[in-house]
């Protein structure tokens, strides 16, 4: 008879190097799924949020409904949001993405709108005086000036999305959340801790990358922030 191996996996310890080396593939797959879900959601959210924010800026009457509806959506807890989308999308990754898009929409629309509104009237008039039409004014003057506020929203939306992907475990598409969920059911401490830490690491790295991108996109703000 062979004695059971006496390693950290057998002892079910929280921190376990053997877990990292033996389950590398599972972990990589989960991280990739996690990144895909979060990235696709935030990217789609951004694509939808831009026209909404521009419309809310352009037509005063549109601002109320746009902000109202997105705030309403944001108030609904994530688990309920995924569940409400179940009849539409079934148990699929699309469901998780759709739910996360609706969340990031709120943060992005609010911040982009705030950025557009903060463009000084003098700047706008100067651009008009230089012969800028409404489209060129928006693309070449207002949008770039709204980048810092928009990026702040994008960072919050990304960090939230990375964290909320875990709830997708309820439909089996939660990236690292799947590992946390199955680890909970099998009382597998190393798996739960490793997946949780990886989630936070992804969120922090994404936040830092976006901060770097913002610095590159807005060279004129450098040196201003003391």
């Amino acid at each position: 008879m062979i004695a059971p191996p006496d390693d950290c996996l057998a002892r079910n310890e929280w921190i376990c190097g053997a877990y990292l080396s033996t389950r590398r593939e599972i972990l990589t797959d989960a991280v990739v799924q996690h990144l895909q879900l979060a990235a696709v959601s935030v990217a789609l959210g951004l694509v939808l949020a831009l026209p909404l924010a521009v419309a809310a800026r352009r037509w005063r009457w549109a601002a109320g409904p746009v902000l109202g509806v997105t705030t309403l959506l944001y108030t609904i807890p994530a688990l309920a949001m995924f569940s409400l989308l179940l009849p539409v999308y079934g148990l699929s990754a699309t469901l998780v993405v759709a739910g996360l898009v609706l969340y990031s929409l709120t943060l992005l629309v609010r911040n982009i709108l705030a950025g557009l509104r903060a463009v000084p009237e003098e700047t706008r008039q100067a651009a008009r005086g230089l012969g800028y039409g409404p489209v060129r004014l928006l693309l070449a003057v207002e949008m770039p000036l709204a980048v810092p506020a928009a990026m702040a929203g994008l960072r919050i939306a990304t960090v939230s999305a990375v964290s909320l992907v875990t709830i997708g475990a309820i439909v089996g598409h939660g990236g690292l959340g799947n590992l946390i969920y199955s680890g909970m059911n099998t009382y597998f401490k190393a798996q739960v801790l490793t997946a949780s830490v990886l989630c936070v690491v992804i969120a922090v790295v994404a936040d830092l990358l976006l901060l770097g991108a913002q610095r590159l996109l807005t060279p004129w703000t450098r040196g201003q922030a003391a």
Binding site: L79, A80, M81, S83, S163, T166, I167, Y181, V192
Partner: protein, 224 residues
Amino acid sequence: MTTLADAWSWLTTSAHWSGENGIGHRLAEHLFLTVVCLAVSCAIALPVALVLGHLGKGGALAVNLSNVGRAVPTFAVLVLLLLSPIGSYGQWPTIIALVLFAMPPLLTNAYVGMRGVDPDVVRAARGMGMTGRQTLTLVEVPLALPLILTGVRIAAVQLVATATVAALAGGGGLGRIITAGFNLASTPQVVAGACLVAVLALLVEGVFEGVQRLAPAGGRGSGP
């Protein structure tokens, strides 16, 4: 549309409202968790934030906490607590996780509110001979009240959401109706539970918005 009709008929079946797994009991659990944890987190976070804001110290901590709170998944913390030794004490993992996630918005908003009080007003209060404690309670807190209440509102909505996720980790509350629906592969039950949670969250938000409107006029700064 049939799913919505099915969900509605699930909701209106009286058998689903009674018993330990019924809507009535789950709603009571959810409200109990939300109210108790809101009270506990306010009792811990608000004094700390008000004193830090009054002294003007610990600003980086107060602001960064809400970023940390956003980056750490609620579900991960719930499961970690469940597998830790605390996990064998009934609802305690849920309560601890709820309090942890309610604190960042409370701390950040109360702190920012306190720092946003016009320094001239504070100096005037000092000049009139007010002590530090009097300045805090009679001048700064009333002026910071709108933001403090915003923090409480965000925390309350966050609590409703976290209490829902707690069901994934075996906690009580309305989330259990959703998870039970998933286990039974009953879409009407899942949708019905989700509707209950969404309505509860929107109601909590609405109630706090009402409270904020009713807050003493002095708290809203110098009117028009």
